[in-house]
């Protein structure tokens, strides 16, 4: 019988390494997801520690600017994982990570796949609220598609809530565009100016606010099954009913510091800069 060239201990170590490699090759998609996510968490913790260790000022700014974990690289790995195992539940986790934490480019790709292939997954709920701040037609289409296709009650509620947020955010972005257009008219490229004008013309803040109220009311009604989200929706109903861009300002009846009575509506006919302030 042929004897080993290695002393027994070394053989044991070699066997372990081979075994470890086999395990690595056979790790489940879920384990691979956990491994990448864990690696990111470590990188993030190291970054936070490095920021804390640096002296406040230029040193710390430099650490902040240079040592941040490369989210694009992580997002790319998550997308590859999702590509390799498209039917595995871990693919959804990987795509959700890339959508919520990745750079714009990878986030877009991840969202495309999530809303094309995974609208029946319960985990897609996690991207609803974050995408509500992306004001493009595709956001609205995606959320409506999800609303129609998900079999899960909680995902439906999340999608409706996100549609409410989207409408509210869109009214605010529209107001920003009006100011951008007026403030930088000469510097704008014609194509951008055209885009701004189109968005402004094609949307109406009052309609957006009314639509937001409708979505939030729908979620607020589900207090029995979705208590936490319903409570947040109820607060949003109040906000978009009274304090959204496009709403008539609520009347204020009060008095000045000398007790002289006044109302906010006394100033109708003039532009009013209403300033809640204090000297602190």
């Amino acid at each position: 019988m042929k004897t080993s060239h290695h002393p027994p201990v070394i053989t044991l170590i070699l066997n372990c390494i081979v075994a470890a490699q086999i395990v690595a090759a056979e790790r489940t998609p879920a384990q691979q997801y956990e491994a990448i996510a864990g690696e990111y968490d470590l990188a993030q913790a190291a970054f936070t520690a490095a920021v804390r260790a640096a002296k406040i000022g230029p040193d710390r700014d430099k650490v902040r600017a240079t040592k941040r974990p490369d989210v694009a690289a992580f997002a790319s790995r998550f997308l590859k994982l999702a590509d390799a195992h498209p039917k595995d539940p871990a693919a959804v986790d990987a795509l959700v990570w890339a959508a919520n934490n990745g750079d714009d480019d990878h986030a877009h790709k991840a969202l495309d796949r999530l809303f094309a292939d995974h609208t029946r997954s319960q985990k897609i709920a996690a991207v609803c609220e974050p995408i509500a701040s992306r004001i493009t037609d595709s956001t609205e289409q995606r959320l409506r598609k999800l609303l129609g296709e998900t079999p899960h009650r909680d995902v439906k509620a999340q999608a409706a809530f996100a549609l409410g947020l989207y409408c509210k955010n869109k009214a605010e972005v529209r107001a920003d565009l009006i100011l951008n257009l007026a403030g930088a008219e000469k510097d704008l490229r014609p194509v951008d100016r055209k885009h701004y004008e189109d968005v402004i013309k094609s949307s109406d803040p009052v309609k957006l606010a009314d639509e937001a109220v409708k979505w939030f009311q729908q979620v607020a009604a589900q207090h029995a099954t979705e208590p936490a989200l319903a409570k947040r929706a109820q607060a949003q109903v109040h906000e978009v009913s009274h304090f959204c861009i496009g709403r008539e300002a609520m009347e204020i009846e009060g008095a000045d510091v000398d007790g002289k009575k006044m109302k906010l509506s006394d100033f109708r006919g003039r532009v009013v800069v209403l300033d809640f302030w204090g000297d602190w």
């Binding site: 100011l179 403030g183 008095a255 510091v257 003039r270 532009v271 009013v272 800069v273 000297d279």
Partner: protein, 103 residues
Amino acid sequence: MYPSQRSLARRMQGKPVTFVGVNSDGKDRLRSTLKREQFDWPNFWDGGDTSGPIAQAWDVTGWPTIYVLDHKGVIRFKEIRGDTLELAVSLLVKEIEAEKKQP
């Protein structure tokens, strides 16, 4: 913030624009600030602290909070300061002027 508010108010003199404050300080403090800073626009006194009735009704949770209303009392812009605030105000003043020109 104070100097920029004052200078905007000065530049808008003679135009259909007004600041309206809702102040959360005690009465004495508000009186002395108005005098020291030469604020000559209307200010609601909101009960002496940040939980005053007006701030509560308006769900205000951060100070300062700014709303810009047009001449019809409609909220048109929120949370803007400095040059952007001035730009917003002049846009809304132009709307009033345009409306006056209409027969």
